[in-house]
């Protein structure tokens, strides 16, 4: 038996002293708390003002140039007689959608499988792949453009095309998808995997039927975030898609893209073309907003079903 030390009865003076000190401490903490809240409010304002200004500018300048022709016609070059004949940007809208669908088809399956592999094995190859993915995730995006140019456009002699552009975007998306899939799979509780194994399932079956479905929300969210990043990228497609002026879904045709259209038209000597840039930017931002909103709603729904 362990003898417990008897608590010493605190004297009256001692208790008064303790109360005084704790009251003083409390007062000081309340004051500190107020200052911190104020600092947070200031920081929030500093962060929110540029963002609000940007959205305001985007709406103010973007909305007026949006009309039916903007979405349905291809660009034309303004002339001195018709300085406002900019045409629309349907080629860039179609091009962007095509590029990102092809890039997703290329990158998502490969990325998800590599991510699962990284999460499920601990080999030297896995460590190497993870390091490469982490490095690639931080690489400047123009690098993907250069790579696609020298490899797809030049070496494979495919030329300026949607294929080259989607290849560049796929390379850009790949590390993001790999790393987010790996995390999603790793976050599946080990007890679920054990439950599967304890039922006599082979390890690969546990991966496909138990782990993968449980990780799906995380995997899809990661893929959509990678996609929404790719949609807005200019640099990877700049050198390789050729800036086509027609609406085409063809893999081997030169295409345009929303970010590229901004890049080109912002340099235009025609004020009408420069004004149109805001409309394109608005469409682009709205598109990214919708994509990530969908991802979030989908993920939270899935989460709710589970809990």
């Amino acid at each position: 038996m362990i003898e417990l030390e008897q608590p010493v009865e605190a004297g009256h003076e001692m208790r008064a002293e303790i109360r005084r000190i704790s009251n003083r401490t409390r007062a000081r903490r309340v004051a500190t708390s107020r200052v911190m809240v104020l600092l947070c409010a200031v920081a929030l304002t500093l962060a929110a003002v540029p963002l609000a200004l940007l959205i305001y500018q985007l709406l103010k300048n973007g909305v007026p140039v949006l009309n039916k022709a903007f979405f349905t016609t291809v660009p034309s070059t303004p002339t001195l007689i018709a300085p406002n004949a900019t045409g629309g940007v349907s080629n860039a809208i179609v091009g962007s959608i095509a590029l990102n669908i092809y890039a997703s088809v290329l990158a998502i399956p490969v990325g998800v499988f590599v991510g699962i592999y990284l999460a499920e094995t601990e080999s030297k190859l896995a460590t190497t792949l993870r390091t490469i993915a982490q490095t690639m995730a931080g690489a400047p995006s123009i690098l993907m453009g250069l790579f696609a140019f020298s490899f797809v456009v030049h070496d494979l002699k495919i030329g300026f095309s949607a294929l080259a552009g989607s290849f560049a975007l796929a390379v850009l998306m790949l590390p993001v998808i790999i790393l987010s899939s790996e995390i999603a799979v790793r976050n599946v509780p080990a007890t679920l995997r054990e439950a599967g194994l304890a039922l006599g399932a082979k390890p690969h079956k546990v991966s496909m039927r138990v782990v993968l479905p449980s990780a799906l929300t995380g995997i899809v969210t990661g893929a959509i975030l990678a996609l929404s990043r790719a949609v807005g990228e200019t640099a990877p497609v700049l050198l390789v898609i050729g800036g086509g002026f027609t609406n085409t879904w063809g893999l081997l045709n030169p295409v345009s893209a929303l970010p590229l259209s901004i890049f080109e038209n912002a340099k235009s000597p025609w004020p009408s073309q420069r004004a149109q840039v805001w409309g394109v930017a608005l469409v682009l931002v709205a598109f990214i907003f919708l994509v990530s909103l969908t991802a979030r709603i989908w993920a939270s729904r899935k989460q709710q079903v589970r809990n």
Partner: protein, 278 residues
């Protein structure tokens, strides 16, 4: 030290005696488990009587769960884990015999400490998941197995109208019974239970305990428990493990639950069952 050796001898005698008490489901012969060369549990030799409940008791760190997980080879995928000695299922060596690890696991089912139904599957899909993992696809067969295993787990009446609902909608106790149903669907000979009620409230615990007793006629149960009253209430045989001086768990005594709780050979067993430590 002297005392321990004596107790070891005596408990070995007890083991031999216990083999005369009816058919044996599993036999453990000098079973030891180590991780990266560090022994976690050792010296475990006892027979698990068929259609009885055998409990593994002992304080934290005594290797109960580690020993239990050796019985369905769950340590196989843990890097650095090594199981030595012999574990026999119906006389067949489970590690070196003809038995494949997947077949072993269908014959020796497991229920875990926390209810872990598959969250992306419905109640029905959970119940038949083991069958599906093992290639059963025929719907009539799955339907029948789902109903009979859910009935065996005393869950059918409360879930029969909502079989397609996600398993995560069930309460903790119901989830644990679903996990029992999931294991029973494969019609195992042995059911390993790793503190199956430690995450449940007293009423849910009672229902699981009643369930175990009713399942005895068709399955041999080996249960790890921290709860001494539970071991006394539900088990027929009892293995007492304790952490040795080198922090490795070892079997101190194995006997009928009645003897372990009323008249144990080793004084440490008595100290533990009386709640003097642990």
């Amino acid at each position: 030290m002297e005392q321990k050796t004596m107790a070891d001898m005596q408990s070995k005698t007890a083991t031999t005696e216990s083999t005369n008490r009816g058919p044996i489901a599993m036999q453990l012969r000098d079973v030891a488990v180590s991780f990266h060369g560090r022994t976690a549990v050792r010296d475990c030799s006892f027979d698990v009587a068929k259609n009885k409940v055998t409990s593994l008791i002992g304080p934290s760190g005594s290797g109960k769960t580690t020993l239990l997980r050796a019985l369905n080879r769950l340590h196989d995928l843990t890097p650095g884990a090594k199981v030595s000695g012999q574990i026999l299922l119906e006389g067949v060596d489970t590690y070196r015999g003809d038995l494949t690890v997947t077949e072993l696991r269908t014959r020796v089912g497991m229920v875990f400490q926390r209810p872990n139904p598959f969250p992306t599957m419905s109640i029905y899909d959970n119940a038949v998941s083991g069958l599906r993992f093992n290639g059963v696809k025929k719907k009539a067969l799955l339907d029948e197995a789902a109903e009979s295993s859910l009935r065996s787990a005393a869950l059918w009446d409360s879930v029969s109208t909502r079989l397609k609902v996600a398993a995560s909608n069930l309460s903790g106790g119901e989830q644990q019974r679903l996990c029992i149903a999931r294991a029973l669907a494969l019609d195992p000979e042995v059911l390993l239970m790793d503190e199956p009620t430690s995450a449940l409230d007293p009423i849910a615990t009672l229902r699981i305990e009643e369930l175990m007793t009713s399942l005895k006629s068709r399955v041999t149960v080996i249960i790890v428990t921290h709860n001494m009253q539970q071991a006394a209430r539900i088990s027929d045989d009892c293995a007492f493990l304790l952490m040795g001086e080198d922090r490795a768990g070892e079997l101190i005594e194995f006997d009928t639950t009645e003897k372990i709780f009323n008249n144990p050979i080793d004084p440490r067993t008595l100290d533990y069952t009386l709640g003097r430590f642990g």
